[in-house]
Amino acid sequence: MKLIINGKTTEYQDNLTVQQLLQKLKLSPDQVVVELNRQILSPNIHVKTELKSEDTIELVQFVGGG
């Protein structure tokens, strides 16, 4: 399955939910916000959201800023 994550394309063998993807990437859901195909996902649906090939995912977090 081909996913475009933060602008980079990556191959994944098996199917994934958003929750599983975050686990693979070692990201805790309360640290990042997930945007799937330009739609913001609220954390509570990570578990039941299946990813499909060509999905575009943005993972963002807070950093220092003025």
Partner: protein, 257 residues
């Protein structure tokens, strides 16, 4: 008691601080604490998948500070709105420091796109604090659009040049019905004091705190500068004069004339 009220929320500090460019999280936290600030700005960025840094948020006590996400990096209204929504989804309260800066060199705010984004975000229920040029007419448009404050720039971000737009900020302060927060370019406590003496309701500082050998002491200095300016404004400053005025009685010296 003298308090700052933004969108119905009460603050005892009139100094907002940014969290960017500090040499370490420890330096950032020390600066935040010594500043006495109750509002700190943060930015949103893509996670670096390969080495995600530890979360900034773990260093900021949500009981003590209101987290104010900015939309820095946005080049137009659409990008700014998108960032604001992401910030809210991250669990922040719906407050946003609106920044739209198409020019990456001087990072000056776009009056057209800023107003457009403000109108959208207000409708979506955001409390909008827009970074803006020192433009009194634009300030009125933003206020009419429902922004919670106006945040005119003193000088371009990071220049440390002070209140270079003084004449125009004075007009904004005179005409505004929402708090006026002077943002950007304030490089020294004297600059922040000057803005407050003019009647600004608050100031926002970042570069000057991050860009020093001792962020904690500098933050304390700005805290005092802001308080000094505010108190002088409340007490009432004397007018500037062209002619001197003796501070000692001139008459009756030991001579007969």
């Amino acid at each position: 008691m003298d308090q700052l009220i933004i969108a119905g929320r009460i603050f005892n500090s009139r100094l907002l601080v940014g969290t960017g460019k500090f040499s370490s999280n420890q330096a950032m936290v020390a600066a935040m604490e010594h500043s006495g600030s109750e509002i700190v700005t943060v930015a949103l960025r893509r996670v670096d998948i390969d080495n995600p840094d530890d979360s900034l948020l773990s260093h900021i006590d949500p009981e003590r500070y209101l987290l104010l996400p900015n939309t820095s990096g946005a080049r137009d209204a659409e990008e700014a709105v998108r960032l604001a929504r992401l910030a809210r989804a991250a669990g922040c309260e719906p407050w946003v420091k609106l920044e739209v800066t198409p020019d990456p060199y001087y990072l000056l705010p776009d009056p057209i796109e800023t107003l457009k984004a403000a109108e959208i975000l207000v409708k979506e229920g955001f409390v909008v604090l827009p970074y803006m040029p020192a433009d009194p007419v634009l300030a009125r448009h933003l206020e009419e659009a429902g922004t919670a404050t106006v945040m005119p720039l003193g000088a371009p971000i990071g220049t440390n040049r002070g209140v270079r737009t003084r004449d125009l900020i004075a007009i904004i302060i005179e005409q505004a019905n929402v708090p006026v927060i002077v943002d950007a370019g304030l490089g020294a406590p004297s600059h922040s004091a000057e803005a407050m003496e003019m009647g600004a309701d608050a100031v926002l500082v970042n570069t000057a705190l991050a860009d020093t050998a001792d962020p904690a002491m500098m933050a304390q200095a700005f805290r005092k500068g802001v308080e000094a300016g505010r108190e002088a404004y409340l007490a009432g400053l004397g007018a500037q004069r062209q002619q001197a005025e003796a501070s000692s009685p001139l008459t009756g010296f030991l001579r007969n004339n």
